[in-house]
């Protein structure tokens, strides 16, 4: 029996050059085979196919043919004008459009086939050495065929024709919107068995926000990411969002530190943030999150690093003005081009769109430092489900490009009383997490700052008080008394009270010393007097003893004399 030889090229993959898609499919579409792209109206099918050809001819030297069954070539080219593709610059022998819309004045009578098209295509494909081909909205022409058998026959005719030429092909098909898979009930459901790869495009609107998703439904003989991935159609065309691909080398780590813009915070962090780290600053409204972001931006500009500040909440100019009031001056850096302010008005759409735009602006600006204030804006209504993924990819992306990222995140006072609950759950991803909160005491709100975590850094465990003044931002030690943390005026009061108490104590001590000195002196005087008295007594005692002795002698002498005088008794010997 003859063994069928699989052409070598068929085993390979034809890269689409579409960011993210080649990663999902592990290299692109099956080379020399057919792929089915199914999606509802406006889901981006045409764009996908067209980009496959444009990238093919520009990046991979594989000229392609676009067979347009639905829209005319002129209109398709016009539709891409808002993108930076510049299709008109592509020569005809690199990318050829073939109009194949059923003509309006065409009358149909009976069955037909697509041999006319294939004959023409064969001629053109041979001339330009085409390697890729896209049949856009094949359903348009199939619908004219009288019965199912005829449709099937024509699809297989195309398939055979392609297989013989070893061209990589995309068929696009319309699906009822909202359809998430091509079932066999689909009029062209049989096509999914014929093709080697099937891709579904899904466009839905969640709470008024347009969300686009792409999913590879099947891929013969290849591993692929089976999950739905968000995508956007941006300036550069189709862009599929994807997570970091496993096995790809991690971004180089560095021990370099960059200043946070606040001296004491740098000390607390053991020298500052790490270069290309992602920093999350959380806090309730008004806890000076923006100020911290601004301080970082200013410090970066002072070092001469290109920086971008994305402000979702207010206009860039407002942010600059407001930051100037706390001594953070950014105008000069905007003027000299180091700092780029991007405000919400220039960034619109779904979270995915925002990410694409942020990335685009940052790349254009060649930013080394990036501030996003607040990143929680990404999870506005309609984006809740996707925002987390977007934030993750933002962090991954900035790491890969060695951009130091500072994100602020608003905590909802009602929902996130728990300290560790940020709306995007990105606190686990961030390298450094600084939390700002209010401490309400004695009719005052004061800002407290603490470092919740900082990977790979010894960091202070202390809460500090954040003090904003005209001269800038400083961190004050907080006062702990009796297990209570004091800030603001209470800290000041407590500090003064302690100073006063110290002074009083000092005086009392001195007074006591004087008193003691006096008492000591007095005692010494008394001691002297007593000692003198003692001496006197001793003298007295000696004198007394001497007089007694002499008197006795006198008495004894007197008696003897008397006896002598009397002459009566013999002198008695002393015993």
């Amino acid at each position: 029996m003859k063994r069928e030889r699989v052409p070598e090229a068929a085993l390979g993959k034809a890269p689409t050059g579409i960011t993210g898609f080649d990663e999902i499919t592990g290299g692109g579409l099956p080379r020399g085979r057919s792929t089915l792209v199914v999606g509802g109206a406006g889901s981006g099918k045409t764009m996908f196919g067209l980009q496959f050809l444009v990238n093919g001819t520009r990046q991979y030297n594989e000229p392609g043919i676009f067979v347009a069954f639905e829209e005319t070539a002129t209109r398709i080219v016009a539709n891409t004008e808002r993108l930076n593709w510049q299709l008109s610059k592509l020569r005809r022998n690199r990318l050829l459009f073939i109009d194949a819309q059923p003509k309006l004045d065409m009358v149909q009578s009976g069955d037909f086939d697509l041999c006319g098209l294939l004959a023409g295509l064969a001629l053109e494909a041979g001339k330009m050495q085409a390697r890729r081909i896209v049949f856009d909205s094949l359903d348009m022409v199939l619908a004219l065929l009288p019965d199912f058998a005829a449709r099937r026959r024509e699809v297989y005719r195309l398939h055979d024709w392609l297989a013989r030429r070893n061209m990589t092909c995309i068929f696009t098909l319309k699906a009822a919107s909202g359809e998430t898979s091509v079932s066999t009930d689909h009029p062209y459901g049989f096509m999914q068995f014929m093709v080697d790869c099937a891709v579904l495009l899904n466009h839905s609107v969640v709470l008024g926000v347009s969300q686009r998703n792409i999913r590879v439904q099947k891929y013969r003989g290849s591993r692929f990411d089976e999950d739905e991935s968000p995508f956007v159609i941006s300036e550069g065309g189709f862009e599929v969002a994807m997570m970091r691909i496993l096995g790809k080398a991690d971004a180089k780590v560095t021990n370099e530190r960059v200043s946070s813009g606040i001296k004491r915070l740098d000390t607390m962090l053991g020298g500052g943030y790490y270069r290309s780290a992602s920093v999350l600053i959380t806090g309730y409204p008004g806890t000076a999150k923006t100020t911290l972001g601004g301080a970082f931006a200013e410090a970066a500009c002072r070092r001469g690093e290109r920086t971008m500040f994305v402000s979702f909440d207010s206009e860039g100019t407002e942010v600059v003005r407001n930051l100037a009031s706390v001594g953070i001056r950014l105008e000069r850096y905007i003027k000299n081009g180091l700092l780029r302010m991007v405000s919400a008005r220039t960034i619109t759409g779904s979270a995915e769109m925002c990410l694409v735009q942020i990335k685009g602006y940052a790349q254009k600006h060649k930013a080394r430092c990036l501030v996003i204030d607040p990143v929680s804006a990404l999870s506005n209504s309609g984006n809740e489900s996707t925002a987390h993924g977007v934030a993750e990819r933002l962090i991954d992306w900035s790491k890969a490009r060695r951009i130091t990222l500072v994100c602020t995140s608003l905590l909802n006072e009602l929902h996130a009383q728990v300290e560790n609950k940020t709306s995007l759950h990105i606190s686990t991803l961030a390298d450094t997490w600084i939390n700002l909160n209010y401490l309400v005491q004695a009719g005052e709100r004061n800002r407290g700052m603490s470092i919740i975590k900082s990977r790979g850094t010894a960091h202070s465990n202390q809460v500090r008080e954040l003090v904003l003044s005209n001269d800038g931002v400083t961190l004050a030690d907080i006062f702990t008394a009796g297990g209570e943390v004091l800030m603001g005026t209470m800290r000041w009061e407590k500090e003064s009270a302690e100073r006063l108490a110290n002074e009083v104590g000092e005086v009392a001590r001195k007074l006591k010393l004087v008193t003691l000195d006096a008492q000591q002196a007095e005692l010494q005087v008394r001691l002297k007097a007593v000692q003198t008295e003692l001496v006197a007594k001793q003298v007295e005692k000696t004198l007394l003893a001497r007089t007694t002795a002499s008197r006795e002698a006198v008495i004894v002498g007197g008696r003897a004399r008397m006896r002598q005088l009397r002459g009566a008794d013999a002198p008695r010997r002393k015993s």
């Binding site: 009578s109 009976g110 037909f112 086939d113 041999c115 023409g120």
Partner: protein
Amino acid sequence: MTRGPVYRFRLFVAADTVNSGQAMANLNSLCRERLAGRHEIEIVDVFREPQRALTEGIRMTPTLLKLAPAPARRIVGTLVDTQRVLETLGLDTDPA
């Protein structure tokens, strides 16, 4: 028998496919019945002359072009629906 204008047709076919064979047969019988002696048929095989198919914008085969008399017409398919074909060619009112 009234002599009308000469009908000039060009039929694009794809080699010896069934569709094309049917179209040729249908056209021939139509001409025999309705346009005896006043028709010219040119058969173009798209596989032999693909450039002509491209130039004429032929995507589906068989495709019949009526070149004369004006207006020009284009009919795709096997021409199985005789009434429809006659209407399109402006022959429906022309008595046999």
